[in-house]
């Protein structure tokens, strides 16, 4: 890059070509740069591919060993559940859904940020998404894998899980198309397929970069295979851009539909606390909330260890924290609406359920949820705290805890008090359920660690497109 460009101070460079040259120098700019350190195009490729090329460290192997052990332990417990039966869980008569469905909804929720970032933020031209979309999409896919594991084992006889699909069969037995549980099968599978394809499409040019840059012959072969003969010709880019746009358009309704359908599992019932009309958008907002929190947890660590601070800047983290604040408020709005309408309606069953949530056996879970999801993100009203790494790491963990408890609260408080007081009960998980949940974290983190080592962690081609010198009016200003 020329010396003139380098001489421009950081705060006068604007990643999107907009310059506030008319402002007095002591004012902060209205647009912050998206990439720091003034790298060249080649620097970017080298940095990201360098992560793949670097030696495997002991720390990495040790972390991988721990997560893989957890995953193996979880898989063992899944095997134990399948071999023995769901009786090894703590489910009982009023509470027939427990940790398992809680975990399912939790993981599906985590899987929402990726598609929101890759599809909706793309359509909204949010250029800051380029630094984080790759890892968020990867996380989405791993989270949906965990979620699918949870529902499949919950069927009780997972070897018959294929019965969930409608296909002509000798038993002349069809699924009940009116059941929201069946809609779920379609919604989640569609979501998984489209997210996977979207992620892979974005990866193709970067696989080609990796293919060109890695030294190992085996790795070259593998990247060669996955880059689908990408040459970087104009024709390829044209087709790629069109495909990307179409994927973004298809994925956008999916961001809303998946968690809406998951919420239908609850909301179509006649159980107080489950049947409430705000559930679909409320679940979607909650899913984005938890998804962003998980992206935050992972990226705060990743940018530190992999040295990606110039790509995933404080500006990116600040934006994500704003989204966490906004979606946290939406969830808070939904909690208050449920509570308010239960009181307003004077419907005795509604109010009994909500009063029980606030004060009953599971009040601890409810208040954990409220403190983590609604109260803790409020500190993000302050810019200093939105840009404070330890604070955002802690809050992102809080949000994850809170969102897990949200699902747990919804499921167990509504179920444990049946319409008949004689059949009230209480549910606590067994060690098997807890182990399976920990195991899904093992699976999730193991996959993420492998991804971070073997795939381009940041969308190289897209990041290059938001550099200041890639913008049309860059060279006309400040020179």
């Amino acid at each position: 890059m020329s010396a003139t460009t380098a001489a421009i101070s950081d705060d006068m460079r604007h990643a999107d070509g907009y310059s506030a040259a008319s402002m007095s120098p002591n004012e902060e700019p209205f647009r912050e740069p998206l990439i720091l350190g003034n790298p060249t195009m080649h620097d970017i490729s080298r940095k990201i591919i360098g992560i793949i090329e670097s030696e495997v460290t002991f720390k990495y192997l040790a972390t991988l060993a721990i997560t893989a052990t957890l995953a193996v332990w979880g898989i063992f417990c899944i095997g134990y559940t399948i071999a023995t039966g769901i009786g090894v869980w703590g489910l009982n008569n009023p509470v027939a859904w427990g940790w398992d469905i809680t975990n399912f909804v939790f993981w599906i929720g985590i899987g929402h940020a990726g598609t929101l970032i890759s599809a909706i933020l793309f359509l909204f031209r949010q250029k800051w998404r380029t630094a984080i979309n790759r890892s968020a999409e990867a996380m989405t896919i791993f989270a949906v894998i965990c979620a699918l594991t949870m529902v499949v084992i919950h069927t009780g006889r997972p070897w018959f899980a294929y019965w969930l699909f409608p296909y002509p069969n000798q038993m002349l037995m069809w699924i009940n198309f009116r059941s929201p549980l069946v809609w779920d099968v379609f919604a989640v599978n569609t979501y998984f397929t489209v997210s996977l394809l979207f992620w892979f499409t974005g990866l193709v040019p970067d696989f080609a970069t990796a293919r060109n840059m890695v030294k190992s012959v085996v790795a070259k072969k593998i990247y060669h295979f996955f880059s689908l003969g990408w040459t970087g010709s104009t024709r390829h880019w044209h087709v790629y851009e069109v495909a990307y746009m179409i994927f973004a358009a298809i994925s956008t309704p999916l961001v809303l539909s998946v968690h809406s359908v998951v919420s239908f599992d609850f909301a179509t019932s006649v159980i107080p606390g489950w049947h409430t009309t705000i559930f679909p958008p409320y679940f979607v907002a909650g899913a984005i909330f938890s998804g962003f929190a998980m992206v935050m947890t992972l990226l705060v660590i990743a940018r530190e260890i992999l040295g990606l601070k110039d790509f995933i800047t404080l500006k990116h983290l600040d934006n994500m924290n704003k989204i966490i604040l906004a979606t946290g408020m939406m969830v808070g709005y939904a909690y208050s609406m449920e509570l308010f309408v239960a009181w307003y309606s004077k419907n005795p069953y509604e109010w009994a359920t909500f009063y029980n949530r606030l004060t009953g056996d599971y009040a601890w879970a409810y208040w954990t949820m409220v403190s983590c999801n609604v109260i803790s993100p409020q500190i993000y009203w302050f810019k200093k705290l939105r840009r404070n790494i330890p604070v955002m790491f802690i809050i992102s963990i809080f949000v994850n805890i809170g969102m897990w408890f949200e699902r747990f609260t919804i499921i167990s408080t509504s179920l444990h008090h049946d319409y008949l007081p004689a059949s009230w009960g209480y549910y606590s998980p067994t060690w098997v359920e807890i182990s399976i949940f920990i195991g899904t974290f093992g699976i999730f983190l193991t996959l993420f660690l492998l991804f971070a080592k073997f795939m381009p962690m940041i969308a190289i081609a897209e990041v290059k497109g938001v550099m200041p010198n890639a913008q049309p009016h860059h060279h006309e200003e400040n020179h």
């Binding site: 999107d16 070509g17 907009y18 506030a20 008319s22 402002m23 004012e27 209205f30 647009r31 359509l123 031209r125 309704p253 809303l256 809406s260 239908f264 909301a267 179509t268 019932s269 006649v270 049947h275 409430t276 009309t277 705000i278 559930f279 679909p280 958008p281 408020m329 709005y333 939904a334 609406m337 449920e338 309408v341 009181w343 307003y344 309606s345 004077k346 419907n347 005795p348 009203w381 049309p472 009016h473």
Partner: protein, 404 residues
């Protein structure tokens, strides 16, 4: 850059003439309607007023949202929505007929609760008036006044902070203080907007039938308001562009983006409306289905079909293609369809409460015409006084250059 004033332009004259015509026709029709059947006229007024305050307040929300998300593209179009807020005085005064007509409108304001049920038994074996009596802790006239005052205070504050700060900048080149203040204050105002319109929706619309309740209702009301506001912004922009007034500011990109938002939020409206309907239909609980039962019988079902088609299906296919969003003609047609459908949708929410059978005539249309005329009159006076573009917005350059 200099403010773009439309004073004495044919556009403004036409807009004023149009608003006077609407007011004239509307006032006569409303007066006749009021003296023939006061309750019916008031019901029509609830529809018209909800529509108008939805546009006015959501215009401010649109502006606050642009600040909160640091949007660059919208700097050239934001002012149109801000001028909707000029109707703030109309909104304040507009609560008066509802307060005076309260006893005709809201069951909770009736003096003798027994007449409310007609002596019938409700759900859960409760006599309906017992539920009604219990609901008096929230739904009573005194608390209603308090809430109305709160809404007004919030909206007036929003007007003075968000809209006035934006307008002030027009004559102060290179002074970004107003923007900086708005960048800070817009987010809290969005929260206040969400709460105030939700509860205003509960008060004016949902409490017409006190035993029916839906947690989604606030979102439902918002989604209709937002897409209607976007449509009206789109129509006015298209008209200004056709008249050649904003040639230096508006480009195909802006119409593309407004068209996209209209498209996206008519889908969002459909999503919310479908979710509310489907969940209530599926669960089939008496206290909830009473609402839709009224609205899918007695001829009202045609209003429902109309909403499905013209609030969602037609705008969806009309605005689906990329190129049509850049054509002002399509934005105008699409916008008018959505605005009409929003009126029909609000009528569908309110009117069946007062008549079992389809009853829709000059009364409803004239009240709407009166309120809409007054609203446009205030918008026109905004165009007369203020610049049609936020010319000194720090993002204006970006708005003139970006590519969609």
């Amino acid at each position: 850059m200099n403010p773009v004033k439309l004073t004495d332009t044919p556009f403004l004259k036409k807009l004023q003439m149009f608003s006077f015509a609407l007011i004239g026709i509307g006032a006569i029709g409303t007066a006749v309607a009021f003296f023939t059947d006061a309750q019916r006229a008031l019901a029509g007024y609830v529809v018209a007023f909800s529509y108008v305050f939805g546009l006015g307040v959501t215009g401010m929300f649109f502006s606050a949202l642009q600040y909160a998300v640091r949007a660059g593209w919208s700097a050239a179009v934001r002012r149109i929505a801000e001028l909707f807020a000029e109707s703030i005085w109309l909104i304040i005064v507009g609560f008066l007929p509802i307060i005076f007509g309260m006893k005709q409108l809201f069951p909770w304001a009736w003096e003798n609760p027994a007449q409310w049920t007609g002596g019938g038994e409700g759900y859960h074996g409760h006599s309906l008036h017992l539920i009604h009596e219990k609901q008096q802790d929230f739904l009573n006239p005194e608390f209603f006044y308090v809430r109305v005052v709160l809404y007004i205070l919030i909206w007036v504050a929003m007007y003075f902070v968000i809209v006035r700060n934006s307008i002030k900048q027009d004559n102060l080149p290179n002074d970004f203080r107003g923007t900086r203040i708005n960048l800070k204050r817009s987010a809290p105002f969005i929260i206040l907007y969400a709460l105030s319109t939700t509860f205003a929706g509960f008060d004016l619309l949902m409490s017409l039938e006190t035993t029916w309740f839906s947690t989604m209702f606030g979102v439902y009301f918002f989604s209709g308001n937002f897409v209607a506001t976007l449509s009206l912004v789109g129509i006015i922009l298209a008209a200004l562009q056709r008249g050649g007034y904003l040639k230096n500011y508006l480009r195909g990109e802006h119409f593309h983006d407004i068209g996209r938002l209209m498209f996206a939020f008519s889908i969002f409206f459909a999503y919310i409306a479908f979710s509310q309907y489907m969940l209530i239909w599926y669960s089939n609980i008496p206290e909830e289905t009473e609402y839709f039962l009224k609205r899918i019988n007695g001829g009202w079902e045609y209003f429902g079909y109309f909403t499905v088609f013209f609030h969602f299906v037609v705008p969806f296919f009309l605005l689906l293609r990329q190129d049509v969003k850049r054509k002002t003609g399509f934005i105008i047609v699409g916008g008018l369809i959505i605005l009409t459908a929003h009126f029909i949708d609000l009528s569908w929410v309110v009117l069946p409460v007062f008549s079992k059978h389809l009853r829709f005539g000059y009364q409803e249309i004239c009240t709407f015409s009166l309120m809409m005329g007054l609203f446009l009159f205030f918008v026109a006076s905004g165009f007369r006084k203020y610049s049609a573009v936020a010319v000194n917005d720090p993002y204006i350059k970006e708005s003139l250059e970006y590519s969609a």
